[in-house]
Amino acid sequence: MLKILVCISHVPDTTTKIKFEADGSALDRTGVTFVINPYCEYGLSRAIGLREEGKQVSITALCVGGPEVEPTLRKALAIGADDAVRIDAPANDSAFVARQIAAYAKGKEFDLIFTGKESIDFNGSIVPGMVAELMDFAFISFATHMEMKGDNSATFHREIDGGMEVLDATFPVVVSCQKGISEWRIPNMRGIMAARKKPLAKVSPAEVREYVDPVKLTYPPARGNTQYFEPEDAQGLVGTLIDKGLI
């Protein structure tokens, strides 16, 4: 039996127009739809793929967050995770999140820990590496392919600049996933209905200090005003470009 932990980030839908609270202290969640981080979903899907390939697997989905992340974990259950765990703490700091994951996973003999290559909200891309370090597991980052090799190891592909790297790793291993390792799955109705009855446990956070204190979120500077030129005013256009040192 392969024991798999899939770490899930709860992130705003990719089509959401992001707004901050008036004081810039946090994301304004009004009207925002949250989803499973797409890269984490690749990991979940690859785990389910292993089951479809005939491997005996148990899949636990884990998310660090408040009660608001439970619908996201339910979706992971609907897609095919066997059970879910919510570590009841806000996920403000990558180091904090990594330590929570490691604290939960220690002693549970997971063979594989799948994560996304990054979360699409804060794009830190550091949680999986930290989890691997804290767990003393092998770490495959940016995996685009995974193929089992026997019962206790796998071959991985990872994209590198200008090519591809092929690696073998013996379990236990942390894998940060990106596009290519699997296809996203659409939960079916039976899965959604079954998800209501699958266990979703709330776990108290481990005693871990927060290393950073989020202060403020700001928007990128607004783009400069557009200047229009009439079609016959090519000279004006060229003159302006010269004045601004652009040509």
Binding site: W184, I186, R190, M193, A195, Y228
Partner: protein, 601 residues
């Protein structure tokens, strides 16, 4: 291509806040579902539509089905889509769980169908027809028929159809001539032909299950001699293998729109080897079919509003991005400044608001009907009778308003794009062609209007109308709690009195046996009645939006937009009832044919 085709936030607003699906979920029949799973299913259907439907919409229109060598080939995206639908559980979603369905509320089924049809209405006929055909087997089929056909249909392997129309029998189904001859083994030999059979045959399906109307030899003339049969393209042979059942495609219709789904002309029993299997009792086929047809009519209204939704989003996107002309400021335009997006011009804004008002008002009406269907299905006998009566009354309206006004809506949407709207570079011309069939599907607007005025309004001495008035009264009372909604409640109350006044004028014609006179302007009555009913739906949405704004929860911009569109409907659309009322109360009738002279020449 537009990036969006539905507003999921609006769909959730209607489902949860306006029409309160939680009340439906409280019924024991829906115990396997909760609000969270309902939302997850909506997300899943959007994902499915984004993946399998929307990307193929345009190409499916450009590459319509072909009949070659006696075989019909459809677009390459159809098979993967139907597999995904079957795997997702959507084809049998509304059916009871003990028959392999998911037992979801109609309200969710309608919501899902809305998203899918908005994504690609040229494709959703395939699964919609299978669902409709399967529903007939669920309701009236034998245990053996359910076991044999439903699993394959629900998994998307076997296609279902409705085989009703014949060359001489369209709206007049009593003139059906296809025959069914009883055989010693209990089956029937079918002989005849059917036309306009959507998804009637194609190579990318293992089998086609036709729900076919025919006359058993010796059956009485008229509607009371029509029976319902299952006629598969491939029947089960002696050893369980599938053998050809003598159903052949004779032709393929080339349509104005909805080109993805083949419309076929089918021959049954040319070699005298077409076996049919009776569903239910002999001679009751039309009543069975009408049960399905009421559901289908609701889905037609929904289909129309879905296309109008996709068109609205395409127009809206264009209007936000297309700079053209300049606004007046202090009576002048600054010709040296940049052009303004056309959404800032009042006339364009008017067209967009009209589109939005029709789409969101029409969808709300269909959702209301779905809610009645759910409450009827899960309730006791008295509750069932109550909601069925309301559903009976509103079904022709929910079919007709979105179909007729959806055309107006898309036409205005096309106008927003100017010359671009007329070209294939943008999807508006495609939507415009696709929606044109909707006032014809499942009983034309004329038929629906006669059904409304001739049957539904007077049924049980006008009881259905009284029930509707009581429902509207609840909304009026809720609206009157808010000062700024009170004027709109008053407007709606006045329109209800207009409806009563018109009925008082017309019903005596029916009582005197002057049926042609009574029904001569039925379509105009439908138009007026539809405006009033949709005004009710807008007030209902307005009340909920107001409640949200007062309580300060949820997205205030969305709620303000709801109130703005409600006001638009009351100030720009509802006044059209004045002209209609004048006509309906006018004693001069120019449309009844005279015996002596033909004045339309």
């Amino acid at each position: 291509m537009a990036r969006e085709y539905v507003n999921m936030k609006n769909l959730r607003f209607l489902l949860h806040d306006v029409h309160q699906i939680k009340e439906v979920l409280a019924q024991p029949y829906y115990a396997e579902h909760d609000l969270e799973s309902i939302d997850m299913m909506l997300d899943a259907v959007k994902q499915l539509s984004d993946t399998y439907l929307f990307p193929h919409y345009e190409d499916m229109d450009r590459n319509e089905p072909q009949l070659e060598g006696g075989e019909i080939k459809v677009h390459h995206s159809v098979r993967p889509y139907l597999d995904a639908m079957g795997e997702g559980g959507w084809i049998g979603a509304v059916a009871p769980m003990d028959l392999g369905g998911m037992q979801i509320p109609e309200m969710l089924g309608v919501s899902a169908a809305f998203v899918m049809a908005a994504a690609n209405n040229g494709a959703t006929g395939f699964n919609g027809l299978t669902t409709g055909a399967a529903n007939l087997i669920v309701s009236f089929g034998s245990a053996e028929q359910k076991e044999k056909y439903l699993p394959k249909m629900f998994e998307g392997s076997w296609q279902g159809t409705m085989a009703l129309t014949e060359p001489q029998a369209g709206s007049s189904l009593s003139d059906i001539q296809t025959t069914a001859t009883p055989m010693p083994d209990g089956s029937y030999r079918i002989r005849g032909q059917k036309i306009y059979i959507s998804a009637g045959d194609y190579t990318e399906t293992e089998n086609v299950v036709h729900m076919l109307l025919a006359r058993i030899d010796g059956a009485p003339l008229g509607t009371k001699g029509i029976s319902l049969f299952i006629v598969p393209k491939y029947r089960e042979g002696e050893h369980g293998e599938l053998v050809f059942n003598d159903v052949t495609p004779a032709g393929l219709y080339h349509k104005l729109g909805q080109k993805g789904t083949p419309a076929t002309h089918l021959m049954y029993g040319e070699k005298d080897d077409c076996h049919g299997y009776l569903v239910g009792e002999p001679h009751r086929g039309l009543s069975y079919m009408f049960q399905m047809m009421n559901e289908a009519r609701l889905l037609v209204g929904l289909g129309a509003v879905s296309i109008a939704s996709a068109a609205y989003h395409a127009s809206l996107q264009y209007a936000k991005e297309r700079p053209q002309g300049r606004r007046y400021e202090d009576g002048k335009r600054d010709l040296t400044g940049p052009q303004t997006p056309i959404i800032n011009h009042p006339d364009v804004r008017r067209m967009l608001l009209l589109q939005k008002a029709i789409v969101e008002g029409g969808l709300s009406l269909v959702m209301e009907c779905a809610r009645y269907a759910d409450l009827a299905k899960a309730g006791d006998e008295e509750t069932r009778a109550h909601y069925e009566l309301l559903l009976d009354l509103l079904t022709p309206v929910a079919k007709t308003y979105p179909s007729e006004m959806g055309i107006v809506s898309i036409s205005q949407g096309l106008q927003v794009l100017g010359g671009g709207g007329f070209c294939k570079d943008f999807p508006l011309e495609n939507y415009y062609r696709d929606i044109r069939i909707y006032p014809i599907y499942e009983g034309t607007t004329g038929i629906q209007s006669q059904d409304l005025l001739g049957r539904k309004v007077v049924i049980k001495n006008g009881k259905a109308v009284k029930l509707l008035m009581a429902e509207i009264q609840k909304t009026l009372e809720a609206a009157e709690a808010y000062e700024d909604l009170r004027p709109y409640a008053e407007k709606l109350r006045a329109k209800l009195e207009t409806v009563q006044q018109i009925l008082m004028h017309l019903v005596p014609f029916a009582m005197q046996g002057k049926i042609e006179r009574y029904l001569s302007d039925a379509t105009l009555f439908m138009e007026l009645f539809g405006l009033v009913v949709v005004a009710w739906q807008w007030l209902k949405q307005g009340v909920v939006a107001k409640q949200h704004l007062v309580s300060g929860k949820d997205d205030p911009d969305f709620m303000e937009s709801k109130l703005h569109t409600m006001k638009f409907f009351y100030h720009y659309e509802l006044p059209k009832t004045l002209g209609l009322a004048e006509r309906l109360l006018d004693d001069t009738v120019l449309t009844i044919a005279e015996d002596t002279r033909e004045l339309v020449n």
